[in-house]
Symmetry: C2
Subunit: 281 residues, 2 copies
């Protein structure tokens, strides 16, 4: 069983960005990371994104607001960030506190600065197979790993476990665009094991630690683990019990070091693309 | 094998609309059917929609433009229709001629008047399982037949053949919202027969006359035929060879008289909902 690390794919994307940044002769694209409250997972993602994007040479501004901010106040602030011509890309940490009108706020995002594809225009583009917008970075990272490792997708049976708006749903549409036959499973699926065992490519994106093991995997299948959970042993783990796939799966992405590694690279690439979209012709 | 006609479902929807229209005490919601060119299928749908909506008591205005109209001219005209406060709902026949900027025009539609769900906001809502917008009428008609006939969907295996933006994709998302396990197939699917034979509910929405027969159907499955094609014998037929399902499928929708019958009723219901959205509070 091959451990399908994200590093190679991330490096390829990174070197493309580095070349493009060089060609800008000193101009530095800027991103605004917008966070409301202090959720540990937001702080962890923010820290990793800041390090990665600054490491590449981008200008990163973190904007944080107290969890108690009113809906009106936050909308004002968010609108200012949105309209600021010095901000090329925006990453808003979701979900927002329930006191904020999330639907309205995501709809306010400038579609051309919308690095994680939360605006309806970008969602609709992903849904319709139009690649001129922004897909959610994690969903796109999965496709990028498969492409970069030359794993065939067209015509293959892909089972996606999980139907979130961040991974499951958009990823299903990205797979459809690559001509895979896509099955979407979830908590209400009657025979999850059978659905998973049909898959040439099995994607675990349910957010439940080690919920899939070797019993769910067809001999020779490629397993992509999108989960990031805290295991009982206090260590990070995915949605897949990786050890149990030995001798069954042909490849599996590790957690950490798999999809997550590529997600940051895709985010950086989106920032580069957002900058290009805003360049004066 | 039961022939699952659309009539019962359509009648239920129709009587709900009639009650609601009565409660308006003489106010008559109005719809604008917008057509560019003279494609026979547009003319056929227009004729049937006009008859149906006028029969219910709605005010119907048909607006037709020559296929040669310039992009700028049509956008001007479409904007006027859109902004006209006396127009509560709009049905734009798609696809538009290639000379027109279809993406821009669908994006100009007022989401609250968008009866067939072509605006990105409505597309994104369907994608995310939010039922406050408008889904494409045909896709919604399929779900309505199943619900009205008390055919269980949750947890069932649903295979959708076809991935268009009018039926296949949105319908897959509507099935996901009903907690079905959904598989989307298409021309690049390697073993279409096997994918179809797994389905408790099989939906044919590929637009190819009689492409599915009894070999593609599991014993006892429910088959929904969304296709409307002209057969070799010059008669209307669906994507399913209905006769060949005898003794295999438990139910099948006929063509004509199945999904299409319900589509007009859903269109009328959308017009009623659009009118409500525009009422002053």
């Amino acid at each position: 069983m091959i451990l399908l690390k994200g590093k190679n794919t991330a490096e390829k994307i990174k070197s493309g960005i580095a070349r493009e940044l060089e060609s800008l002769h000193g101009t530095v694209p800027a991103v605004s990371l917008v966070r409301v409250g202090e959720k540990p997972e937001d702080l962890a993602y923010e820290k990793s994104a800041v390090k990665y994007l600054e490491g590449l040479g981008f200008h990163v501004v973190t904007r944080s607001f107290p969890a108690e901010i009113t809906d009106g106040e936050f909308q004002n602030e968010f609108l200012k960030i949105n309209r600021d011509p010095s901000v090329n890309g925006i990453l808003l940490f979701l979900p927002l506190p329930r006191t904020l009108d999330s639907k309205k706020i995501t709809g306010m995002t400038d579609p051309d600065k919308d690095l994680d594809g939360i605006h309806p225009v970008n969602i609709a583009k992903v849904f319709s197979g139009d690649d001129t917008g922004f897909a959610p970075c994690t969903a796109e990272a999965v496709i990028r790993i498969l492409k970069s490792e030359n794993i065939p997708v067209a015509g293959k049976n892909v089972t996606v476990v999980g139907r979130s708006m961040v991974v499951g749903r958009p990823l299903s549409m990205l797979f459809l665009r690559e001509n895979a036959t896509v099955t979407v499973c979830h908590t209400k699926t009657e025979d999850l094991k059978a659905e998973c065992r049909r898959a040439d490519i099995l994607v675990a994106a349910a957010g439940k630690a080690k919920m899939l093991n070797g019993d769910f995997v067809k001999k020779g299948a490629v397993v992509i683990d999108v989960g990031i959970n805290m295991g009982d042993d206090g260590k990070l783990c995915g949605d897949v019990d990786t050890d149990s796939l030995e001798g069954i799966a042909s490849m599996v992405t590790p957690v950490p070091g798999g999809v997550g590694t590529v997600t940051n690279a895709v985010l950086a690439e989106h920032l580069m693309r957002a900058f290009r979209k805003q360049e004066k012709p």
